[in-house]
């Protein structure tokens, strides 16, 4: 087995957050090292090559491919406008000519004598990359983008949908075990990031979308309700490109699961602060988890505040069970026997003995997740 347990997701009160903001193709960086950035600052821009139109000139003019060159009135590299003539036959005594007009604005990219096709490249598509989070430019990557840095509270979710959003954090649920209900969502919450407790129903999510809420952070959501939101069954956890008005970030998983205290308290303490979130998730090699970034001023927290990578499970660690039975329950590790133990399923695994509500029980280590305490 590659992993003896699933490491916990990061819940950091204060950390030095760094983020690459990179163009999909090389282009121009518009800011310099040390510049202060707001989430909307455009940091780099470029032009993506336009779409390609392939014109079957020989077919349209009813001639052999090799004769196409003789009929062309343009050459490779020429700029063309929609409606410009690009090829014309000589006709008979200058009459009965056939011609081909360009269907789009663009440039003649290539002319093929073997197939008789003319390739027209449409005008480039401008692309801009914004800063996403307030911060400063830490490093400029020439022609590609920047690395931004800021002091921030940082939380990783387990699963999310929809891409980057930003807004003010609004605490809606009073406790980490409360459901976020539709009646708690109002039109005034447009553009905000709502903090829920254990569960969000489909009805509540739909209401949030209709109110243009920027994002919701909540413990759980039903897997089978995703289809109603996405329009298809989510087969693999690769998300981020969904065009939804409201991003959804689950901190715990599918079903009704109370948000961990550490996560809930950190979000609660940041009620009213601006945050940037990204629902993009990729659970494959090179894992990407959804994130909540809350920039904070350096003076707002003492330097010794919690900011470290999750550690392995040890005796005394607080852990959460991440698979049935006992799914979602929190316990304390009382011992870590080294020998393999047989489970009810007869699977032989490494286990941890954990105490849940005062009762000791054996759980496979692979089914435990660290809960980071602040």
């Amino acid at each position: 087995m590659a992993h003896s347990y699933t490491p916990g997701l990061k819940v950091l009160k204060k950390t030095l957050f760094r983020k690459e903001r990179i163009l999909p193709l090389k282009g121009k960086v518009l800011v310099k090292k040390g510049d202060k950035l707001s989430p909307d600052t455009i940091v780099a821009s470029t032009n993506l090559p336009g779409n390609v139109q392939m014109l079957k000139v020989n077919n349209i003019l009813n001639i052999e491919p090799r004769d196409v060159v003789d009929c062309l009135v343009v050459k490779e590299g020429d700029s063309v406008k929609k409606g410009d003539m690009i090829a014309e036959t000589a006709g008979i005594f200058g009459m009965f000519k056939s011609s081909v007009d360009c269907p789009v604005d663009g440039t003649i990219e290539s002319i093929s004598e073997s197939t008789g096709r003319v390739i027209v490249r449409e005008v480039p598509i401008p692309v801009e990359v914004d800063a996403y989070v307030s911060g400063t430019v830490d490093k400029v990557i020439e022609k590609e983008g920047i690395i931004l840095k800021c002091d921030a509270a940082f939380i990783q979710g387990i699963f999310g949908i929809a891409g980057e959003k930003r807004g003010e954090l609004v605490l809606v649920s009073n406790s980490c075990s409360d459901e976020l209900t539709p009646d708690q969502i109002t039109k005034e919450m447009a553009g905000k990031i709502l903090i829920g407790g254990s569960f969000l129903s489909l009805e509540a999510y739909k209401k949030a979308m209709s109110c243009n809420v920027a994002a919701i952070v909540v413990g759980g959501f039903n897997y089978y309700d995703l289809k109603a939101v996405l329009g298809y069954d989510l087969g693999v956890a690769i998300t981020g490109t969904e065009q939804l008005p409201t991003a959804l970030i689950l901190t715990e998983g599918y079903g009704s699961i109370p948000m961990s205290d550490a996560t809930f308290d950190l979000l609660k303490n940041n009620h009213g602060n601006e945050a940037s979130v990204n629902g993009a998730t990729q659970i494959r090699a090179g894992v990407i988890r959804p994130e909540i970034v809350i920039p904070i001023s350096s003076a707002s927290e003492s330097e010794d505040s919690f900011s470290k990578e999750p550690e392995g499970i040890q005796e005394g660690s607080t852990v959460r069970v991440i698979r049935s039975p006992n799914f979602g329950k929190i316990g304390t590790v009382s011992s870590l026997p080294s020998e393999l133990k047989k489970m009810e399923s007869e699977t032989m695994v490494r286990v941890a003995e954990i105490s849940i509500d005062g009762i000791d029980t054996l759980i496979p280590r692979a089914n435990l997740e660290m809960v980071e305490l602040q």
Binding site: H3, S110, R117, G235, Y254, I322, S345, E346, N367
Partner: protein, 608 residues
Amino acid sequence: MSKKIKSILATDCGSTTTKAILIEWKEGRYRLTFRGEAPTTVEAPFEDVTKGVLNAVMEVEELSGRTILNGDQIITPDSGEKGVDIYVSTSSAGGGLQMMVAGVVKSMSGESAERAALGAGSIVMDVLASNDGRLPHEKITRIRQLRPDMILLSGGTDGGTTTHVMELAEILAAANPRPRLGQNYKLPVIYAGNNKAQDSIQSTLGEISDLDIVDNIRPVLERENLEPSRDKIHDLFMEHVMAQAPGYKKLMSWTDAPIMPTPGAVGSLIEMIAKKEGISVVGVDIGGATTDIFSVFEEKFNRTVSANLGMSYSICNVLAESGLDNVLRWVPFDIDRSELTNRIGNKMIRPTTVPQSLEELVIEQAIAREALRLSFIQHKAFATSLKGVQSERTISDAFEQSSSGKSLVNMMDLDLLVGSGGVLSHAPRRQQSARMLIDAFMPEGITQLAVDSIFMMPQLGVLANIDKEELKDDASQAALEVFDNDCLIRLGTCVSPVGKVKPKSKMAQVSLTFKDGSTKEIEILEGSLEMLEVPYEEVKINVVPSRGVDVGAGKGEPVDSVIYGGVVGLIFDGRNRPITLSADPSERIDSLLNWSSAVDEYPKGDLF
């Protein structure tokens, strides 16, 4: 007999784990003696695959007491106590080999190109074809998005029209694709199409890509010529793709044979075994994200990858493609459907968890049956005779619907079914592995079942492919002997008569003669499943099927054969084909419980 090779070290660098095995010549044959494993170190912070290899080899050193490493060098040759004679490796780290293939007609040259790429061990990201229904700019966008490691372009028969394959080449040129790894080299493109177009292809693609031209993959419609393309893919995999991955240049300098893509090595081993034994084989490797199926029928090798059918990362896709009802039909108890989907969803987002309760195990194995079944359906649709071939039809053919493109997979001809991958190899009881294989693949007639317990086939595959003249005989002998003795766990043999009979009536009469001369008679009844514990030894079998029932020799025709038991034994499957489960829930649950109990599949208790 003196052997040129006395010891072999082989590694497989997977995307998460690097596995090392030591094979030694002992008491007149090659045996697997030790194995070790360590996490793969391709990604940050290590970014050097050789570190993981050295760690895995160090584990072998510790276990065997043999010194294999001198610092970070593998000691060769074997000098008794130290070193090994040869070192070989396979790799699927960093996402394996990802290719895009193109052909003029999707079901003809497109399919041949796909077969060549899959056979070489790659993942085929997309098949472009002139007739795939996409507009040129859609194809171009797709090529740019995918960023493959390599492109295989084919199309046209030799001397035929060049227009269509040139159109594809122009689309590739317009897309100007960039390779996935590394910025400083051109994307390798292999052209294996109409030889008349080679010059034009050179002028269209020569500048923007690293173009290699090989013999046509489909020189005439009636013949496929995959070998030159497959060999070129392997060469380029080494030269370009692997050379870009961190640490591979060093690893390549250590090995005595080219590093092969893992599935390519497995495929070549299965092909070799089928050829040597003269049998038909199906091999399956079910992983977290994908399921690979390999088959050899009528001496033709095929491999398919079901990219999104797996047991963790893509477990929800199994659910989406098969439907919840199809999964639940294998579960002999009631369960809340919405809770079940949430549980499966949670397995997808936390892929490393293991089933602790029996209920969870049963559900996971139900999903595995469906993942295997769906993957095999895809495989059967792909493993066909060549499409587009004209054949003369006589009046006797008029009543047969067979045509070109018929599936080669004939379950009645299947001799050996091999499973590997966590859910099959690590099932708590071997009976569970046997049941999953039988329920999903539905073998017919007499079929031997096995699992590859530690997935050693990749290393043995690369060993079997060593082409250094002085070493190749010993290396392939070692690969075959270890495969026979150590790699496979023989589960046993499944006897499945097929044909229409009344429910619960006799399908076949079986007479068995064991090694010690004792005999046993068994009646296979329709709808039943029976197991007989017999170790891995020869058993003479005589099967007399009822009228209208086939066990391999034709309807009603008896069969005499020699079969083998195994860790499970002999399974007599009277459930007919396809296996149908009653629509009535209580009847279905009764049948499931009876079948489980007959093969001692699960521990007795509240559920069983």
